[in-house]
């Protein structure tokens, strides 16, 4: 008891000393309402946790990785026979060295790779969760746009990081991406020198390396700061509702019962972070990544060239007959621009998905399109697809979604009208309501059918 008091007093003194000089309490994220402590409200925090782990593991990998295409026939740290016709480049050798010689290197490299997959996957979950629940609506438009840019930069991290181990596979896939850009009319020749440098393989690797370890992470950190700062100024998005006018406001109880950052939110996030790390390390330990063969090794087939899963849909799109780089890059850009500006396209104030059938249709179609194309690309990478087959496969996605959502929406409106009529009947006593008063006031979307 005596010791406890002494301990507390001294802890308070130390903490007070630090707090007086730093005001650290004010650094914390502001308190969040109690109801939000469900995983679905913290999908963004999971992405941030994944990003933090990528930064830490990436910094550790940097201790050994050499961004060089130079080959050294006499010194072969990768255990390659001396005097081989096509010796391995240093970038590949240093990766090989991390995997085979550095203690825990294989585990670290695998977690960095799987962590990247997880980050992109969690980002997609975060994006579609916000999309369906209308989280991009006023006043959170800029928050959404910054988030879309974060997705672009993260995909850029994926693209640039893919080349770094310098395997045949990654080299070929990177070439495909670069030539897609270079084949664009007017833009291609303009961008070429910035992407390729002086045209040597070393120049390309140096650029990809610089982008992956410094330029893009700096951009991500800056945008992430803006994203979190905007989140801070708006607070967490309240739950959606069928309130015909706008997003439901917090109830008094919800609004008042806020939970402080220290220690509750921190511990809550730490719990999820530890679970994340546990799964990540478990998977890396069970299925360590195998390094494919290096660039320049002509004696081994690289197998079918394909990018990581998050670019497979684009890779498959290029397989379609008649899809030129302009069409492929144009389609990707159009999707991106749609996501970026969706807060200004979907102008209604309603947030519940059932009140936004058109945008739910677009979102679900896009999601299904990505899934179908990714699976298709994984099943038949590099197989040319005739236009008829492409239409046969992709058109139903949009049609089935439209029909399903349309039917659901019709049913929803009918139920809504019936309920409204029942209420009118109850409130008007003996008078029999002839019909709903006017179409605009009975339509759940408030006169904008």
């Amino acid at each position: 008891m005596e010791f406890g008091r002494w301990y507390n007093r001294n802890l308070n003194r130390i903490w007070g000393f630090i707090e007086d000089r730093t005001s650290m309490r004010r650094w914390a994220v502001r308190p969040q309402p109690e109801f939000s402590f469900k995983p679905s409200y913290w999908t963004g925090a999971f992405v941030a946790i994944a990003f933090l782990y990528q930064a830490v593991s990436g910094a550790l990998l940097l201790l050994y990785y050499q961004p060089s295409t130079a080959t050294n026939a006499t010194y072969t740290p990768c255990g390659q026979p001396i005097g081989t016709l096509s010796p391995a480049p240093a970038a590949w050798c240093s990766t090989y060295y991390i995997i085979h010689s550095v203690p825990m290197g294989s585990l670290l490299l695998s977690t960095h790779l799987y962590g990247a997959y997880a980050m992109i996957f969690l980002m997609v979950v975060h994006l579609f969760r916000g999309y369906y629940l209308g989280a991009y609506k006023a006043p959170r438009e800029f928050s959404w746009m910054v988030g879309t840019l974060l997705l672009v930069l993260t995909l850029g991290m994926g693209f640039t990081g893919y080349l770094l181990p310098y395997t045949q596979l990654s080299y070929n896939a990177t070439n495909v991406g670069l030539v897609l850009a270079l084949r664009l009319p007017t833009l291609g020749p303009l961008l070429g020198p910035f992407l390729l440098g002086d045209g040597t393989s070393q120049s390309l690797l140096s650029r990809m390396f610089a982008a992956h370890v410094l330029l893009l992470p700096l951009g991500i950190a800056a945008l992430l700061y803006a994203h979190i700062a905007l989140f801070e100024s708006h607070g967490i998005a309240p739950p959606t509702s069928s309130d015909p006018l706008q997003r439901r406001r917090f109830t008094d109880r919800e609004g008042k019962s806020h939970v402080p950052f220290m220690p509750h939110i921190l511990l809550y996030l730490a719990k999820w972070g530890l679970l994340y790390l546990g799964i990540l390390f478990g998977m890396a330990a069970l299925w360590p990544w195998n390094l494919p063969t290096y660039v320049g090794n002509l004696s081994v087939s690289p197998g079918v060239t394909e990018p990581d899963w998050y670019f497979l849909w684009l890779f498959k799109l290029v397989d379609f007959q008649g899809v030129t780089p302009v069409i492929a890059v144009g389609a990707a850009t159009a999707i991106l621009l749609f996501l970026l500006f969706v807060p200004f396209l979907d102008r209604s104030k309603r947030t519940h998905p059932r009140d936004r059938p058109v945008f739910v249709w677009i979102g679900t179609s896009l999601l299904s399109f990505f899934i179908v194309m990714t699976v298709w690309g994984g099943e038949t990478p590099g197989v040319e697809i005739a236009p008829a087959l492409a239409v046969q496969t992709l058109a139903p996605i949009f049609l089935v979604n439209a029909v399903a959502i349309g039917l659901f929406h019709r049913r929803y409106i009918r139920t809504y009208r019936r309920r409204l009529a029942a209420r009118d009947l109850a409130s008007s006593g003996s008078r029999v309501p002839v019909a709903p008063r006017s179409p605009s006031s009975t339509h759940p979307r408030g006169g904008r059918p």
Partner: protein
């Protein structure tokens, strides 16, 4: 207090010390003097200041951005013209028609996938690999009127006009060998008419006709592979001297001569690589 500063010839008004007068003048006197000498338009002055600052900023930022853009665009390395480059085998001996063509009747006839080798050499730049192929008799049978084999293909050299060289970088999206690979007869079940040997890319499935200047058999590529102009001297040594006029630029390069260091004008090692197993989707 009385002395003040000596004034001399620079005194504003006649003799005496102007400073004394100013000191005893009411507050604001100096400003009024200035005002009398000419009204200052504060708005205009601020506008001018703003313009000056904006101009300076513009020049500074513009210069910095321009400099940065120049910085990230290094001079492209390359060569000015096609070198005449002799090809050498891996063991250092010159590659001759006899060597490439001489082995070919059995070489091509016996093509067993596990043991056969392909020649690859870089030309004209170090990151531009090319296949060196002898197509005689590419279908494994002796040529006859009904079975011409692959003799006298466009640009071919040697006794049968069957030794050719094509870029080993796919014209679709730039996948290099061995993703782009030559399939000798018997490697792949897929045939195009009677043609059972071709160059095929495992990235997106483009296929090229090696007997016809590497024109497209299947898309998605729409351009042929660039073809290397080969020459042989009197003793049969093989030289690469350029690309055929109808060749598109090697993929990934804005220009075949730009984008890496040249291979040099004297010699180039032709590396051997095993034939890659059939990757053609059935």
């Amino acid at each position: 207090m009385n002395g003040g500063l000596p004034c001399g010839t620079s005194c504003p008004r006649g003799g005496g010390s102007g400073f004394e007068d100013l000191r005893s003048a009411p507050v604001g006197y100096v400003r009024r003097v200035a005002a009398v000498e000419g009204e200052v338009d504060e708005t205009r002055r601020n506008l001018l200041k703003l313009a000056a600052i904006a101009g300076l900023l513009g020049v500074g930022v513009g210069g910095a951005v321009g400099g940065a853009l120049q910085y990230v665009r290094p001079p492209v390395v390359g060569i000015s013209s096609y070198p005449r480059t002799q090809l050498f085998d891996v063991d250092g001996s010159p590659l001759t028609l006899a060597k490439v063509g001489g082995v070919s009747p059995t070489y091509m006839g016996e093509y067993s996938v596990a043991t056969a080798d392909l020649y690859l050499f870089n030309y004209p730049l170090q990151n531009e690999p090319n296949f060196l192929l002898n197509l005689y008799p590419a279908n494994g049978l002796a040529p006859s009127p009904s079975n011409p084999g692959a003799t006298n293909v466009p640009g071919g050299i040697g006794d049968h006009g069957s030794i050719v060289a094509y870029s080993a970088i796919c014209q679709h999206l730039g996948c290099p060998a061995p993703a782009l690979s030559f399939y000798p007869p018997g490697t792949c079940p897929k045939t195009f008419g009677s043609l059972s040997f071709y160059i095929h890319c495992s990235c997106h499935g483009s296929t090229y006709d090696v007997t016809n200047a590497a024109s497209n058999l299947t898309g998605p590529a729409v351009l042929p592979l660039p073809q290397v102009v080969l020459e042989a001297d009197a003793s049969g040594n093989i030289y690469a001297t350029g690309m055929t006029p109808s060749s598109p630029p090697v993929n990934g390069h804005l220009n075949t001569l730009q984008g890496d260091y040249g291979v040099g004008s004297t010699s180039q090692l032709a590396g051997e690589s095993p034939v890659i197993l059939c990757d053609f989707p059935t």
